[in-house]
């Protein structure tokens, strides 16, 4: 009785599996995975970005005459589901490569899958250093500037501050922990006179901001490093503003200048925080102008950083496929290593040594303008300038 259902379900799956196996010769398929249902605030602009890129690529004649098709899957924010999706894309859809992912653990799961199944994977957003270093593999490349790079960019500014007593607030998971660890290490190298007086580790997404703000204030630091983002950041900023935590203290903050995180703060935006981010309103380069115009024309909305990442991920994928002129993973790897290409932020290169792209980020200060948070005095920092020496990188990567 009960096993008959096993068969029924099995048959249904089998039929579904076979339907997708036919592949048109005139198109190239890319598989894309991201946390669309869990993190819509970041993945929606990201999706718009890559859709724009697909449109542009196909309007310009596709990849060596073949039409580019992106098949996109949701991972629900779970590494196990991301692997199911990756498997479907590779086994049933026969995609030429995998791209995407936002969360670090999902990026790592897919990268491990790619390594095992010998599939090319271009990680879009995950920030963890592990994906290109300690757990790096030859099938995985990463577009976004890593945790280390963002930390190095911030340290450059933070070291100029007179502050000697520092406190940290970071979400209690790998991203927060490694961001604080790298920042502390680089900072203490530049400024041996610094003291770390307090650290707070609220659970990601569940910050109890009042007690955290009080605890930090009690340690009386001169400067604060913040790594929280999203809803946690909103709560932290609100409590901090009300309780005067940020008054007379310097704050250095990861990612807070990205519109995804800055815009929800509206009139609560604290002024003068040193942040990494994406001031789309302030970037006056021809590359970016072109992107901005196309994006606004298509969506009548402004781009977030996710839009840039999504756009550039697919542009990079297309450039790789065009150069390799093949879907063989080995040829794709050979084509990507050392490949340079334009991006809205200027030229970027995929490094041969660790498969990290040299895409950079903007570093600037937060300010309040017409009741909205903006980044001012922002300068583009090239990713290539904020990576450790080749010898150090080689030591970290498994051989």
């Amino acid at each position: 009785m009960r096993r008959r259902h096993v068969l029924g379900a099995g048959l249904a799956i089998a039929v579904a599996g076979m339907a997708g196996s036919a592949m048109a010769q005139s198109e190239i398929k890319i598989g894309e995975i991201n946390s669309y249902s869990l993190l819509p605030a970041f993945t929606e602009p990201y999706r718009k970005g890559w859709q724009l890129a697909v449109e542009e690529i196909n309007a310009a004649g596709g990849i060596n005459g073949k039409k580019l098709v992106v098949i996109s899957k949701d991972d629900g924010g779970k590494p196990a589901d991301a692997q199911t999706a990756a498997n479907e894309l590779v086994s049933s859809e026969n995609v030429a490569m995998l791209t995407g992912t936002f969360l670090s653990n999902i990026g790592l799961a897919v990268s491990d899958f790619a390594n095992q199944k010998k599939v090319f994977f271009l990680a879009a957003e995950p920030l963890t250093d592990a994906i290109t270093w300690s757990k790096g593999n030859r099938y995985t490349f990463r577009l976004r500037p890593s945790n280390y790079m963002q930390a190095a960019m911030l340290v450059e500014e933070a070291a100029k501050l007179p502050a000697k007593r520092w406190a940290t607030i970071a979400p209690n998971y790998e991203y927060g922990q490694s961001a604080v660890a790298v920042f502390k290490k680089l900072m203490s190298e530049k400024r041996p006179d610094i003291q770390w007086v307090d650290e707070q580790w609220p659970p990601q997404g569940k910050i109890d901001a009042g007690p955290v703000v009080q605890a930090v204030a009690a340690a009386n630091p001169e400067a604060i490093l913040n790594v929280t983002f999203g809803a946690d950041l909103v709560k932290l900023v609100r409590e901090g503003n009300t309780r005067g935590l940020f008054k007379g203290r310097s704050v250095v903050s990861f990612l807070t200048g990205e519109p995804e995180y800055l815009d929800p703060l509206k009139e609560e935006t604290p002024e003068g925080w040193i942040v990494t981010g994406y001031p789309w309103y302030d970037i006056k380069t021809p590359d970016h102008d072109k992107f901005l115009k196309a994006y606004q024309a298509k969506y009548s909305d402004y781009p977030r950083l996710g839009s840039i990442v999504g756009y550039q991920t697919i542009k990079a994928a297309a450039a790789i496929l065009a150069k390799a002129n093949s879907t063989d993973p080995e040829k794709l790897i050979a084509a990507t290593e050392g490949l340079s290409m334009p991006s809205p932020f200027g030229e970027i290169t995929f490094r041969k040594i660790d498969h990290q792209s040299t895409l950079g980020a903007y570093v600037g200060k937060t300010a309040l303008k017409d009741g909205k948070g903006v980044m001012v005095d922002s300068v583009y920092r090239k990713g290539a300038d904020y990576l450790p020496s080749d010898a150090e990188v080689a030591k970290q990567r498994p051989q």
Binding site: E88, E199, G210, T242
Partner: protein, 628 residues
């Protein structure tokens, strides 16, 4: 000194919002016995609706009016849900309502994104409570003071309502003895509806009052629901005072705990709950649950082993399932393996729930421990797959033996919550102990050996182990041990009187169940090639519950069907649509209404009704059920 006082007040302010939501949940549970998983969803809806109203109408009246109106609107939605959905399933097996409310929660998560968009929304600050009050150089937000004042007022209001009104008397009576209230001729329908409305109102009010402090976003519900459950259980189910004290306790421990252990927030509530439940099994202010007036043997159709015809049919189905690799592709086979693994997992929980009568809310702990066991053995010790697969589940066994010992001292929802606490403790160890477990970046590269690496071989392996696990569990059900376990479930007193050591029997069942779950987890690690703390997480535990309930908790092997249907639907929907939660939630709600005893349970009931020419008719059975 001023600092500690202010930190204390800050803790009280955090307690206030927790208390509002928890009191609602406690009232609903006390009267209707519904484990309202959707309580967090109502909290979130309250925040969203209040955001819209307070943005629309300015001024003090607009703000405060908006908050109250938002709570009323959401309460109306709650009434609708109760009347349309929950009323249909009050007579379904215990916990079945959890399934319905879980489906609703999934739907609401997608619906709020559809209505309000994906961005985090920043609500207004409360008029008159924007700033802070200076207290010896420390700033206390005036809104915190407002919240601190509000919660005793709400507490007092509820106390008056319950002590001084006829409705309150009925509610208290129903909390104490539902059947007697019904027997005395009180219209239960409206009592339940009004209680549900009040509970939802409090939840929505709690959510609405957060908008000056928090961002409104679509994950608010999950953030609060578990904490609220914990608070309610620490305080004692159905006790409003208990909820208040527990909320204060948890918030204050957190406020001061982070001064000494900054990383404690992630685990604190669960530690407190585990300690409280071990010391006081019914929470701080709770009373032992009155023995349910169940007449065992009449409500549950007596189980019987498969007839020879059914047995050969099962074997035939298994053989057919084993032929899948002949015509299916790699992806289908991998999905098939995953489903087989979840059949093992669901069957293990089902054994504990149906046969043992112990509903575990933290069963993923043993699944995940099995997975981590394999990962440690394969990665750290470098053992071959067969050995890891055999030894890995022992970690699940160990966990089940330790936690089970404490958990079986409790029963009902308290048992469920203690298992949840243990699962969360294990989860946070895996999450925090980065040096050993890799934290949330997990352990990678746990791939199967060559002989099992092909999708077909792995599928056969999973299918064989699943078939073996289900068969073994069935054999146990019909063994003397199984009868002893069922006796303990049906009547602890009578079974003890005939010499069954109930706790020991339940503990053994817990260990068996945990070990089988560990086997599932061990296979899962090899299927995915990696292990993450997710495999210990709440959402996986809830998935397992859903599979069991969907299959039918009063059946012998309903979980098998439940797991296949749920997992297949889940994988397919996630692949097909970004709105998978909306569709899956809707699907679950429909299933709940269509199959109030679970899929297999309902099918069996229909079959029995058709067959029963005997006097022992299904009609008599259902009458007795209604009388409960």
């Amino acid at each position: 000194m001023a600092f500690y006082f202010v930190q204390f007040l800050t803790g009280l302010a955090s307690a206030a919002s927790l208390f509002l939501v928890a009191s609602g949940l406690s009232i609903i549970f006390g009267v209707t016995r519904i484990v309202n998983f959707a309580h967090g969803a109502f909290y979130m809806l309250g925040a969203y609706v209040a955001f819209t109203l307070t943005e629309r109408f300015s001024g003090a009246l607009g703000f405060w009016g908006g908050i109250v109106v938002a709570a009323l609107i959401v309460a109306a939605v709650g009434v609708l849900v109760e009347m349309v959905l929950l009323r249909r399933i009050y007579h379904a097996p215990e916990l079945f309502q959890l399934l319905a409310t879980f489906g609703l929660t999934l739907m609401v998560q997608d619906i709020v994104v559809l209505i309000w968009g994906p961005d985090d929304l920043l609500g207004r600050r409360a008029p008159g409570f924007r700033g802070a009050v200076d207290f010896f150089g420390q700033n206390i937000p005036s809104y915190d003071l407002f919240l601190i004042a509000l919660s005793p007022i709400v507490l007092g209001g509820l106390w008056l309502l319950f002590q001084r009104t006829r409705w309150g008397v009925l509610v208290r009576a129903a909390t104490q003895d539902r059947d007697m209230v019904a027997a005395l001729g009180v219209n239960q329908k409206w009592l339940f509806t009004s209680v549900f409305a009040l509970g939802v109102f409090l939840a929505a009010l709690g959510g609405a009052l957060q908008i000056p402090r928090d961002a409104v976003h679509h994950a608010l519900d999950l953030r609060i629901i578990v904490d609220v459950f914990v608070v309610v259980v620490i305080g004692g189910l159905g006790s409003i005072i208990g909820a208040f004290v527990a909320a204060v306790l948890v918030s204050e421990l957190n406020a001061f705990g982070i001064l000494i252990f900054p990383k404690i927030s992630i685990i604190l509530v669960f530690l407190v709950m585990a300690v409280v439940l071990i010391v006081r099994p019914w929470g701080l202010f709770g009373k032992p649950e009155a023995a349910a007036r169940r007449t065992p043997g009449l409500t549950v159709n007596p189980w019987r082993p498969l007839t020879s015809g059914e047995r050969s049919m099962s074997i035939g189905a298994l053989v057919l399932a084993a032929m899948l690799p002949l015509f299916a592709g790699n992806y289908a086979l991998t999905v098939g393996s995953e489903i087989a693994i979840f059949v093992i997992f669901a069957a293990s929980l089902h054994f504990l729930m149906s046969v043992g009568g112990l509903a575990s809310f933290g069963h993923a702990a043993y699944f995940g421990l099995g997975a981590y066991g394999v990962a440690f053995l394969a990665k750290a010790a470098g053992l071959p797959m067969i050995v890891s697969l055999l030894l890995g589940p022992l970690l699940g066994l160990l966990g089940a033996a330790v936690f089970g010992f404490f958990a079986v001292q409790l029963s009902g929802v308290y048992f469920a919550m203690l298992t949840l606490a243990f699962a969360q403790i294990v989860w946070s160890i895996a999450f925090q102990w980065v040096a050993v477990t890799g934290g949330d970046n997990g352990i990678l590269g746990v791939w199967p050996d060559k002989w099992a690496a092909g999708p077909a071989s792995f599928y056969w392996l999973s299918l064989a182990i699943a078939a073996l696990a289900v068969t073994v569990l069935r054999v146990i059900v019909f063994s003397p041990f199984g009868f002893a376990l069922r006796a303990t479930r049906d009547s602890p007193l009578r079974s003890e009187a005939i010499g069954i050591d109930g706790k020991r029997v339940q503990w053994t069942a817990f260990v068996i169940s945990g070990t089988v779950a560990g086997i599932g987890g061990a296979l899962f690690a090899y299927l995915k090639g990696s292990v993450f703390p997710d495999s210990l997480g709440i959402s996986l535990s809830v998935d397992a519950l859903v599979m069991v309930l969907l299959g039918g908790v009063e059946t012998v092997s309903g979980a098998v069907i439940g797991a296949i249907v749920f997992k297949a639907a889940n994988i397919w929907l996630v692949s097909q649509t970004d709105l998978s939660k909306l569709v899956l939630g809707g699907f679950i709600v429909l299933m709940v209404v269509a199959f109030p005893k679970g899929i297999v349970g309902t099918l069996e009931a229909i079959r029995n009704r058709r067959r029963s020419s005997e006097p022992k008719s299904a009609l008599a059975t259902s009458r007795i059920e209604v009388a409960e």
